[in-house]
């Protein structure tokens, strides 16, 4: 097994992570705008299935990396939203979207907006 990283590698790693974080925050703004449109579509009952798939996709992207970018809470809500969207997409009961799912999407959107407004990104 390889030995653990030395101090130089660690500081280099941290510098790289800072750069990645900046680009993640730029992407997050795009996600925020897309999410906003999708939420509007769902609320207005327009192309609900397509909007939901898009929300699931965005949630999936955020869930995979947010925690590593020191945004653990955002990562958790994204993972939960993704799971609920997946369940809703395969649900054939025809009962419409659950309150739990709508709340999760709302919470995700609000967390993304929050992260975008608090974080300094170019």
């Amino acid at each position: 097994m390889r030995s653990g990283p030395d101090a130089d590698s660690l500081s280099q790693f941290e510098a790289t992570i800072s750069k990645i974080r900046i680009s993640f925050l730029v992407n997050l703004r795009e996600h925020r705008d897309n999410l906003g449109e999708m939420v509007e579509g769902i609320l207005n009952n327009q192309n609900v299935f397509a909007c939901l798939s898009q929300v699931g996709w965005i949630a999936h992207k955020i869930a995979g990396v947010a925690a590593t970018m020191q945004l653990s809470e955002l990562g958790l809500i994204a993972a939960r939203t993704e799971k609920l969207v997946d369940e809703a997409v395969i649900d054939t009961s025809g009962e419409g979207l659950s309150t739990e799912l709508l709340e999760a999407i709302g919470a995700l959107y609000s967390q993304v907006c929050d992260a975008c407004s608090k974080q300094v990104a170019p």
């Binding site: 097994m1 390889r2 990283p5 790693f13 790289t16 990645i20 869930a63 990396v65």
Partner: protein, 330 residues
């Protein structure tokens, strides 16, 4: 070690690259789609030693990509690690079924990535060493035949069959399931009198028998989403879903009737009629929790007690009891 990382998310790609660099892996190629991955494979001067794949990707997803990679002869044994946010049982099972050797859940933890890829590197180095040592032995046999030179007790890997996985992958699967393996059943399946077949036939033929039997087992148990690993002595460890409606007697009859239809013959044209016996399955009980390695241990123990051919049990028991963390036991 040359590593190809495939993920459609550019942030994830950069993070994985940084994590790998941190642990001293410098020969890294990044691809944001299966198409880019195939381009990189086609134009690589040296083959890649390890793949890190995302599960969910547009067009060709990680599962499809993994299956296609396994179709390349040079990549049939290369470690493929899934790094993904999809952590449900079906996704994990499917990834292992198509040839993953390990499965790491997102969010990306650089340390975990470093450890898992270091383990894969160890496998790669062992495989290189094995190949080096195998060269003179192979030359003494027919060089054009593609089969591993093995003794009857060797848990020789069987490649290229859906749902038939290496012992390392099987251990990693069980470890990744943790409490999630409550719905799993572990059984040992033994080829009756495999030592007779092994003695009478060439190693190439014995290996062909193992492959055919593994394929028949995988096909026959398909509804139970099995993962099967060869354990030596003509015996297989099989993990399947608890919710199966068919009894082990029913499965045994189905497997043996399919094997009989294969009409296999030894090199001297006498019939070779392998049959399979399924040992007593081990399950989680309501009252005692079992770790994944304990579950295998229970299945091997239950089979060892039976009169028939379960002989890999004693060997594996020694390994299993020495190993508290199967993922590191390679």
């Amino acid at each position: 070690m040359k590593i190809l990382v495939v993920d459609d998310d550019l942030t994830a790609l950069s993070l994985l690259e940084a994590a790998l660099n941190l642990y001293g892996f410098k020969h890294i190629t990044l691809a944001s789609s299966a198409r880019e991955a195939f381009y990189a494979i086609k134009h690589a001067e040296q083959p890649f030693d390890c793949f890190l794949l995302d599960y969910r990707m547009p067009e060709v997803d990680g599962v499809d990509l993994c299956a296609r990679l396994r179709a390349f002869p040079e990549y049939k044994a290369t470690p493929i690690i899934f790094v993904t946010a999809a952590s449900d049982r079906i996704s994990v099972n499917t990834a292992y079924a198509v040839g993953a050797v390990d499965y790491v859940s997102k969010p990306i933890d650089p340390q975990e990535i470093g450890v898992r890829v270091s383990i894969a590197e160890k496998l790669v180095l062992e495989e290189r060493e094995r190949k080096k040592q195998d060269v003179p032995r192979r030359h003494s046999f027919e060089a054009e035949e593609r089969f591993p030179n093995f003794t009857i007790e060797d848990p020789v890997p069987i490649f290229g069959l859906n749902r038939v996985i290496s012992s390392v992958a099987l251990e990693n699967y069980l470890e990744s399931q943790g409490d999630g393996c409550k719905n799993d059943v572990v059984s040992i399946l033994a080829i009756n009198e495999f030592d007779e077949i092994y003695r009478k036939a060439s190693p190439a033929f014995a290996y062909a028998v193992l492959r055919e039997v593994a394929k028949v087992i995988a096909d026959s148990l398909e509804r139970t989403a099995p993962l099967i690993s060869y354990n030596g002595y003509g015996e297989f460890i099989c993990i399947s879903k608890k919710t199966s409606t068919m009894t082990s007697g029913g499965h045994t009859r189905q497997i043996n009737s399919r094997l009989a239809r294969l009409n296999m013959r030894f090199e001297d044209t006498t019939p070779c009629k392998p049959t399979v016996l399924i040992g007593k399955p081990a399950k989680h009980s309501l009252w005692t929790s079992s770790t994944p390695s304990k579950l295998i241990e229970k299945a091997l123990e239950a089979s060892e007690g039976q009169n028939s051919p379960f002989r890999s049990a004693a060997n594996s028991m020694k390994n299993a009891t020495n190993c508290s963390s199967p993922v590191l036991n390679i």
